[in-house]
Symmetry: C2
Subunit: 221 residues, 2 copies
DNA sequence: GTATCTATTTATCAAATGATAAAGAAATTT
DNA sequence: AAATTTCTTTATCATTTGATAAATAGATAC
């Protein structure tokens, strides 16, 4: 009945024992990749296999799959926000165009990463409030400051501006949307003909021209 | 053992017998709504309940769930393409601005419908080629013609244009992306502060200004 | 070296999934 | 009205899912 040699041959040379914090971090790191690939309906067994552990081991580190998913969110969205974005946008030692180019270069470097964007859309489709919350932060911490800095760069005060037919931030949203759309095409649709840098340059340039025109139009501040 | 009255009371007054074509269409129509809500991982039992039939009945009309899903795609994407888009964009009896406004009004009316956009993203995340195929059609049938018409409107020939730092269609992609992004915010993220019409007007206006500048810049045709 | 602790696995569960076969019921044909 | 066709349901299956309990095995303490 006993097969002493078989167990010695076939068995697992792989999984070593880890310190709890190490293992938990390892699980979380792999979970990000896994859920980005499979969506949140991806099975815990598939994830376990990818890590090289057995499926019930999750439940020592996370009470339920939902808890794991929530930690994935936190890791992806909160931890990857860079405060330097907000700081650098306000640094008026550099011209506004340079600041915008630099910001979008850094921002898209984070946001147009496959995991980030895919998880973002999985969350949006699932009706979670992650996206709305994130967008609110983007608007208040990034887009509104961008408009304020743009106004300042052209010697205007944001409050005194009377936009012709659109709300003040619409131009910023337009630039942001144009850039973001290229990331979607690249990462979600798998279109590899997209040139992000070119898109950023064009969007920023177009934005500044349009903003200047809008700000100079009502020249009676 | 027999409960004659119970069956008469509780039983199903709902499901009537239908002609095959009618039922198949009914299933397809509801499947679009259902998969747009739940994603393609939504269960066949949930869909059956929503229609008011039993789950095995699907397999009389569709060999497998995958086949049903494929018919959903076809119905949503192929059947909703409007040839008038291509025609009207080329109708130079109207100024280019009016044509663009009219086109995006009609286009977003179709594409920014909840079902359409959600299924589009579910497909994209699942790695299906629907999106890439659709985008190729958008580019060849809509965006490239838009650029050609724009050039014509400013008295240029598309081939003779030497764009400064970007490819010829980048400006069109930028406009398209800015508009599309608003649909995403509205339908995927559930942001109801989005004003699509305003976004269209701004995007078209900005595009035409930028295109004019780009076309007039290299004035040596 | 034995005992204790804890990280990991094996075995297992209940629920849900896509799918099939056979039974039932509403039409239609004759 | 009986027979036949076909639309629909009931019963059921094999897999897969998230999750738990008990057994194993690698550490550390004594």
């Amino acid at each position: 009945m006993t097969q002493p040699n078989l167990s010695a041959v076939s068995a697992k040379p792989s999984t070593k024992r880890r310190a709890p914090e190490v293992r938990k971090q390892e699980v979380l790191t792999e979970a990000i990749l896994y859920f980005a690939d499979e969506g949140f309906d991806g099975g815990t067994r598939g994830l376990a296999k990818r890590i090289g552990i057995t499926q019930p081991l999750f439940y020592r580190y996370f009470p339920s799959k939902d808890d794991l998913v929530n930690e994935v969110y936190r890791a992806v969205y909160l931890d990857r926000w860079q405060d330097s974005w907000e700081v650098n946008l306000r640094d008026d030692r550099q011209p506004i165009e340079a600041r915008l180019l630099q910001f979008y270069s850094s921002y898209t470097g984070v946001v147009f990463e496959r995991n980030w964007l895919r998880i973002y859309f999985f969350a949006g489709l699932k009706g979670l409030d992650i996206n709305a919350r994130y967008l609110r932060r983007v608007e208040s911490a990034l887009l509104i400051p961008i408009w304020a800095q743009t106004c300042a760069a052209f010697g205007k005060s944001p409050s005194g501006v009377n936009p012709t037919a659109h709300k003040a931030n619409d131009l910023v949203w337009q630039m942001h949307g144009a850039v973001f759309y290229h990331g979607i095409r690249q990462q979600i649709y798998g279109d590899n003909s997209v040139d992000i840098d070119a898109a950023i340059q064009l969007a920023v340039k177009t934005y500044l021209v349009a903003a200047k025109a809008a700000l100079m139009a009502d020249d009676h501040t």
